[in-house]
């Protein structure tokens, strides 16, 4: 079991990092997580485990992270403020570090009303800014929110989400700057389909000095169908799908092949943008495509692992 984050190591060594998303099952079978972990392991530096993604119930992200560790795949433990108050957040962070988890992605979490238990009470005792500060305090000062000393500090590489396509851009960029101040060391962005807008955003991110203090992993995802493209365009907050992409999906004979092609083009383009340190492949429910994406794109060529 590693004691430092290898994702952090890869990024510090200026290697182009590749992470992927691993969606836990809606069920108690460990084998589903293990299979996905074994599939992803040779192709990524780490994999994020989503935490009741889109406010829909799945196996606990912490449990799935442990299953991944057993398969020797480094996890990024996603943790949202939606389902836990400050007591649970702190105890889960301590538990995660004790279990050998070294990367966390700290999120506010989608509102319960958009998920599969819309009647649920959203907790949101803390917000992501507060959770980031708290995690850094626990790690660096060895203290809880209430100033009580920890017997051992947790060890984490601290990540957060970034929203390149949300308007007004200025307000969301200020949020990102505040996250850096709070202690974020790496960002994984929302999925990029609108490369022009992403380039403009990255320019602003660089101008504000964010890339000097944190690493940016650009989110990418293969589109499986025309329906998915339209859904992302119209209903997923923070995702911008240009009409040109919709048109290409409409005209394509083989939708999956076209979706994969678009994804590979996006990787090619984001790789060239100054300040982009890696990609985060979000192929939830289509994890088996990840090896192909990594192989064809050649993003890890020349890497020994």
């Amino acid at each position: 079991m590693s004691t430092v984050s290898s994702l952090s190591k890869v990024l510090s060594e200026k290697k182009f990092a590749v992470t992927a998303e691993l969606g836990p099952p809606r069920g108690a079978e460990p084998e589903k997580v293990r299979e996905k972990a074994r599939l992803l392991k040779p192709y990524v530096d780490a994999a994020n485990v989503t935490d009741n993604q889109s406010a829909v119930v799945y196996m606990s992200s912490l449990a799935a992270c442990v299953l991944m560790l057993e398969e020797d795949l480094e996890p990024v433990f996603q943790i949202t403020c939606r389902d836990r108050n400050r007591l649970a957040l702190q105890s889960d962070l301590l538990g995660a570090s004790a279990l050998g988890i070294r990367n966390v992605l700290l999120l506010t979490g989608d509102h319960p009303s958009i998920g599969d238990h819309p009647e649920a009470k959203g907790v949101f005792d803390l917000d992501s800014q507060q959770l980031i500060r708290l995690t850094k305090k626990m790690r660096d000062e060895g203290k809880l929110l209430n100033e009580k000393e920890l017997s051992k500090n947790p060890e984490f590489f601290i990540g957060a989400a970034a929203s390149p396509f949300n308007e007004p851009m200025e307000a969301h960029l200020i949020q990102m700057e505040r996250k850096v101040q709070a202690g974020v060391e790496f960002f994984q962005t929302q999925i990029v389909y609108d490369i022009e807008k992403f380039s403009q955003w990255m320019e602003e991110v660089r101008r504000r000095g964010i890339t000097e203090k944190s690493f940016i992993l650009a989110g990418v995802a293969p589109i499986k169908s025309l329906g998915m493209a339209k859904y992302m365009k119209n209903f997923v907050p923070g995702v911008s799908v240009p009409d040109e992409i919709i048109k290409r999906m409409e005209e394509a004979q083989d939708k999956k092949e076209e979706g994969l092609k678009i994804c590979l083009e996006m990787i090619e383009r984001v790789k060239e943008i100054e300040g982009v340190s890696g990609i985060h492949i979000m192929a939830i429910g289509w994890e088996e495509i990840v090896p192909e994406i990594v192989k064809i794109s050649g993003v890890r060529n020349g890497r020994d692992n």
């Binding site: 403020c81 939606r82 400050r86 506010t108 979490g109 989608d110 509102h111 009303s113 958009i114 959203g122 949101f124 005792d125 803390l126 917000d127 992501s128 800014q129 507060q130 500060r133 708290l134 929110l145 989400a161 929203s163 396509f165 949300n166 308007e167 007004p168 307000a171 969301h172 200020i174 949020q175 700057e177 505040r178 709070a182 929302q190 907050p237 923070g238």
Partner: protein
């Protein structure tokens, strides 16, 4: 300010009554009259519906303000009819229901759901305060994020905010973008970068209690 309510379904109200036959009805001349959930008209309609079934309405009254202390006296005046009742249905907010239930040795049931304390804005009512006990309006340009942000975030906006709208619905404005814009208008845009500490929920100790020194 008004207490905003919505009617409970007739089926739910009947469910409370169980085997009770004789029912007394109380409406309120203040908030539920305004919301059209418990004024003269609604009390009359409910009485008619109940009478059309197996129930007997022993009497009804619309008190000026059910939550007021004067309700005790008013109930005394209706004593005879209430005494002959197996149940009392109150079409007022939960404050009024609890005023009545505290005064009577009878089953008292609510006929409405109390939703929020609303501020009147151009004919409709908006929830603007949750009485959290630790007011942050001084940092947020006079807009309460605890109430008006769907997640109650103290350091927003979140990634679900786009074009000034909230992820929960395109009809809901993002409170944090409203705050961002209002801070600019009043020349305090720098304050948008301020960090607000986690909330002290113990200030909202339940049940709240206050008395004149």
């Amino acid at each position: 300010m008004r207490i905003i309510t919505e009617s409970k379904s007739y089926e739910e109200i009947k469910g409370y009554l169980g085997k009770a036959k004789n029912v007394f009805l109380i409406g309120c001349g203040t908030c539920t009259t305004l919301c059209k959930t418990g004024g003269e008209k609604e009390v009359k309609e409910l009485g008619k519906k109940l009478s059309g079934e197996k129930y007997k309405v022993t009497g009804s009254v619309v008190l000026p303000t059910v939550c007021d202390l004067l309700t005790k006296k008013a109930l005394h005046e209706e004593n005879e009819a209430i005494k002959n009742s197996d149940a009392v249905i109150v079409l007022s907010c939960a404050f009024g229901v609890q005023r009545v239930s505290g005064e009577l040795d009878k089953p008292v049931f609510p006929g409405v759901n109390t939703i929020f304390l609303g501020l009147e804005i151009e004919g409709s009512f908006l929830e603007v305060c949750q009485q959290c006990g630790e007011c942050v309006l001084g940092y947020t340009a006079g807009i309460c994020p605890i109430t008006r942000c769907a997640k109650g975030l103290l350091n927003g906006p979140c990634g679900g905010s786009h074009n000034g709208k909230c992820e929960v619905s395109p009809d809901v404005p993002c409170a944090w973008i409203e705050i961002y814009e209002r801070l600019r208008v009043i020349g305090k845009e720098n304050e948008f970068k301020f960090f607000i500490n986690p909330k002290n929920w113990s200030k909202k100790g339940r049940p709240g209690r206050w008395s004149q020194e």
